[in-house]
Symmetry: D2
Subunit: 384 residues, 4 copies
């Protein structure tokens, strides 16, 4: 078979930010075509969105249940190969589980589910079916993050001692839920889950640190804060982290760091050197050494590792951004899926995307950070 991979979509209707990004990311490398979708729980909005995407009316559905059922009856080569789910957190589990049960591969936005229990059930189903499952922790798909991970793995920095990971934002600094649709569901515990800021962005920071260092967090000691009056979930928090092997970390996340846009950043120091990376300037990594000048490592240069080069598209100095990182997720997923559809084993570099296992860890992190705020106990374990 040499055809594009077929994508169906749940979510991403009018006013959705992340749904549009998923589509752009899927388009970018010309490997995937959108063939159907249920873009809104309002059928007329779903139809409007689908038509604007040049879909025929009979592939625009009124509910995800309808879509999954009808698509599963279409012949191979016509029906969607996988479904991308970009709804708020409380509508993650339903369509994801149903898609897996009907034999569809799944792309799911983070955090994985509304509860840890749902996450465990999804993991079990993925393990049972063997279907491909990708969680869109976008930030680990930047080529420079892959370079960072590779350099840690090959020992450039020696044993890791100290991690600082931060995710400051400012956009929820006041009570904007009434006027901002993106804000509304994130600060609503019935749609977002137990944690607000820590679920939305703290999980990204947690995942980024584990991805780069290759270390699992064993326990944490933290505090959640809610600064905006009347808000029901945390909008800020911080934690001390203890990693396996003795490394120590601090993780902070805030959505009231007023004026900060999307300041995810990480610094990792080992026995022999360290690295520093900032999401807002993602093509640059600072590498520090004890006895010589710091180096400005830049994407797409000849000295980059293979895995980083595999995840970038332009020559040095032609900046790649958030959308390209997101497209790396989809491109890798599509390549892995293409191999599967051919009955081949996917190449390892194509499987380098966040899986259902990372999804469970993210939910465990949320459990731990919520409980540390609530008890007097200093250290809370993050079980695997």
């Amino acid at each position: 078979m040499e055809r594009k991979i077929r994508m169906g979509m749940v979510g991403g209707g009018p006013g959705s930010f992340i749904g549009a990004v998923h589509r752009i990311a899927a388009n970018l490398d010309g490997q995937i075509e959108l063939v159907c979708g249920c873009f809104s729980s309002h059928p007329e909005k779903s139809l409007e969105t689908g038509r604007s995407l040049f879909l025929p009316d009979n592939r625009i559905y009124a509910s995800y249940q309808e879509m999954i059922e009808k698509e599963s009856l279409l012949p191979e080569g016509e029906r969607m190969d996988f479904v991308a789910i970009t709804t708020p957190n409380h509508v993650h589990f339903g369509p994801a589980m149903m898609a897996l049960e009907h034999g569809f591969h799944v792309v799911l936005d983070k955090p994985m589910t509304y509860t840890l229990e749902e996450a465990r059930r999804l993991r079990d189903k993925v393990r049972e079916t063997g279907l491909l499952f990708m969680l869109t922790h976008t930030y680990t798909a930047y080529p420079m993050v892959k370079e960072a991970r590779e350099r840690v793995r090959r020992g450039d920095f020696g044993k890791i001692r100290r991690v600082y990971v931060e995710y400051p934002q400012g956009w929820l600094y006041d009570d904007c839920a009434a006027t901002n649709k993106q804000a509304a569901w994130r600060v609503d515990p019935t749609r977002s889950g137990k944690a607000g800021c820590m679920g939305d962005i703290g999980t990204h920071a947690f995942n980024l640190a584990e991805y780069i260092t290759g270390l699992k967090t064993v326990e944490l000691c933290g505090e959640l804060n809610t600064f905006v009056p009347g808000r029901l979930l945390d909008d800020d928090g911080a934690a001390l982290l203890r990693y396996e092997g003795g490394a120590r970390g601090t993780l902070t996340a805030s959505q009231v760091a007023v004026g900060v846009e999307n300041g995810l950043n990480i610094r990792v120091y080992g026995e022999k050197g360290g690295l520093e990376w900032r999401q807002e300037e993602p093509n640059t990594m600072l590498v520090r050494w004890p006895d010589r000048p710091a180096e400005i490592v830049r994407v797409s240069n000849g000295y980059m590792s293979g895995i980083a080069a595999f995840n970038s598209r332009t020559p040095a100095g032609h900046p790649e951004g958030y959308i390209e990182a997101f497209a790396n997720l989809y491109r890798n997923f599509a390549l892995a899926l293409r191999a599967r559809l051919k009955g081949e084993e996917p190449a390892p570099e194509t499987l380098d995307f966040p899986s259902v296992e990372e999804g469970v860890r993210g939910m465990r992190f949320i459990e731990a950070i919520v409980s540390t705020g609530a008890t007097g106990e200093k250290w809370v374990k993050i079980a695997d």
Copy 2:
């Protein structure tokens, strides 16, 4: 009609950098589909590339002449709507002129042609046919460059006095033509034209400055240099510029600024304030004032102008890069073309892409900068 716009491609075979970027840019917003192409002057390479892009064999052509002729015989709704030409400079004029003569709209890489004479003939043909023509001066498609232009236009900085525009690169610092395909044609006067560095990147700098300031360059005084032994074209140069209305500029371009990646940048100062922008961090513009702190203007914030917002896709802090700028060109071109195909007048913001007129100015700049190096005359006019 609600269908995707159909693109054919000339160039972009194996090893091409810019051809792949054109395709990605065209894919990104889901407005355009690639329907045919002649990707190489070697038919087997053209076939190989076309198949990897999921094209049927009968739409993969062995020559651009064959493609344009055969496509023009296909029914509307099946044949390509426009052709994108991404070949080296000496193969710009031929396919572009032939496409226009067969009624196809054209997207063409810069500099527009091999000679000024060709540029004039192309301009006349575009004027005569009324077809859409876009020259891919990518850098003016960044949202922040549009913001800069808009702020100059609305008078934020007062009358412009001083422009510094620079385009340093380092990748041609040694004699790499034998081993680097991208380098080989750029340093070869039979493929590149009268100018090397100034044609390849100096034209971008020249165009950027005129785009942002809205001022035409009247005359220049400059010097071209060739530092790498044996090279036949300039690899470095500088010029003093005089703009209409009394503003003064300096333009420098170099491909031997060793270690610099793609350092296009511009600074513009007027009577009341100034702006500074660097391509390698394209989402940021520094705005300077005499009596208060400099401001860090950032893409996708609420304070951005409408034309900048129209050309960006992600929230603040989610960096957009070179590919998104390139995609803005294609998206705008596609929207304008869609209007044309419907018999409507394109919206003004969709026509904000570089035209054949900018192409002629770029060729005039090349003429002038080449002649200033060759004569003892200090100032050389750039006629319109």
Copy 3:
């Protein structure tokens, strides 16, 4: 009287870094002259240093006891006015207390003493004698730090919610005590005190945050780490801080952040805006707002507050550094002392230097951070 203020010095012999800085800082504004000193516990080294500073032999002393006694017998106008003490921590209390008892004003390096008990006794003596006492927390003497404090105080940012203060360094990343005199005493509990990294630089971070925000830390929850094998004191640590009024902070300090030079930095976010300042580029402060571009506030511009202008010397763009900050301490101390010597009340801006009270708070911070690492209790109070 119009004469220079007369300084005596304890410490600052061969190989001392901070002693030389104290002298340069005292020289800079031409307000102070060095008239005597005991520069080393080795009399011959003291003599050598004193002579290199153009002191007559009879004002170069073999012990601080000798110096304080003999100087106190000299006539006013000849004897020193104050003593500057720049010895390791365990030799702070002795000369400071003796100087106060003999009526000399005191300048003392930080942390104030070896133990909290000594700090309390010194504070009581200062209160009792009314003599001037300055603790050299240099970093709060930068003009931009004063600007930051002033802007918080006047309410620019609204009520403060979130503080991040960090002090990473890398120079103790390995076991350098044997070869580096500066390192040797800092990692030795018999000379440094209960804390290593947290005493040496954590106290600076703690002090900086309280100075800028004007808020007192109520309690903390933290962890001290020792990464270098065999080291007896902490070389890294982190704490969550709770400030009066509900603000939350994180404080990190490390001397194993390999490759980092002297990275003290602070970010403060309130209800209406925020500020960010980094010691390594001290003349710049970023000010963030929710609804408009971030501003790059720069020292010596017309928009700076009076207290910042009072503490800078050069026009904008002529960078002032660490030595100028240190000189601000000495200049302000000298102006205040000159007023005292004339029987006048010092102007308030001249008294804006760290006092014995800040010294006691620093010692309390050390107590708290050491105990938080040792107990299972989550929050430890910092009594006043």
Copy 4:
């Protein structure tokens, strides 16, 4: 003799910026004491300034002629050793020549004189007398500039090809001469000389480039501009430079780059690598290579060259600024003068300060740049 070096001062009265900086710079290292001065052409202002500096009335003079005459009658060990002249340009030659004629060593602010003819006469007198003469081109005294020069000299970057040197400022963007004393004389040809901006700051840029590269400028092609209506001298300009050995440069200087503080910067690229340095962040130099990451070279690290280390005072990460650079000039001058007074040959590193020869070159640059604007000739020679 072991005593401080004795300085007399001409200029530096109330409202002077640079005079105060000279004093601070001379104070800083404790090598120099101010013993006398004529601080203003108004005797009462001279007296007021001298008293504020703790000078006795009999060493505060009403004219520089009086000062030089009376000081020359004082016994060695009491009279001044050298004179520092910090007046506007038209009062440079008179006191400098008279001081040399009376056997005093001289420190003089730049540009050296009002006319090239004066500069030549001063040079001849210095050569004739053998007295020490220092021109305060401060910017070459930064430790990182010395590092840059050293790395070029030892061949790190190969043969130099391309220099970009810029000196943008914004403070004269409007007609501020009436209200700003610093501005008033700089824009007045009767006090400043033939050039305004190019004399004041262009000469710094010219000197910096020749200092770092070790190359002499052979000819230039440029243009001077006056943007502020009614101004009699240039406030902006640019030039193409040709260096000996084939290197090419561009030099720009502007005082209407509104909002820019003191943006002197230089970039130098050779066959093997390049360097980039900015005065506003003077402790950092970027070093670029073709095949590996750019390096962030920072002052006071162990890898710095001896001459850079000799010119810095604090550990890495403790920023040194403009005043420390200025103090390097005075410290080096004082050490060289001390050797001379002892009848010894000064150590080479102490003689690394700008001399009367650089002063003549600066005046020749002014001649050339003024004439290039006035004639139609493209290239103007800079004779030695």
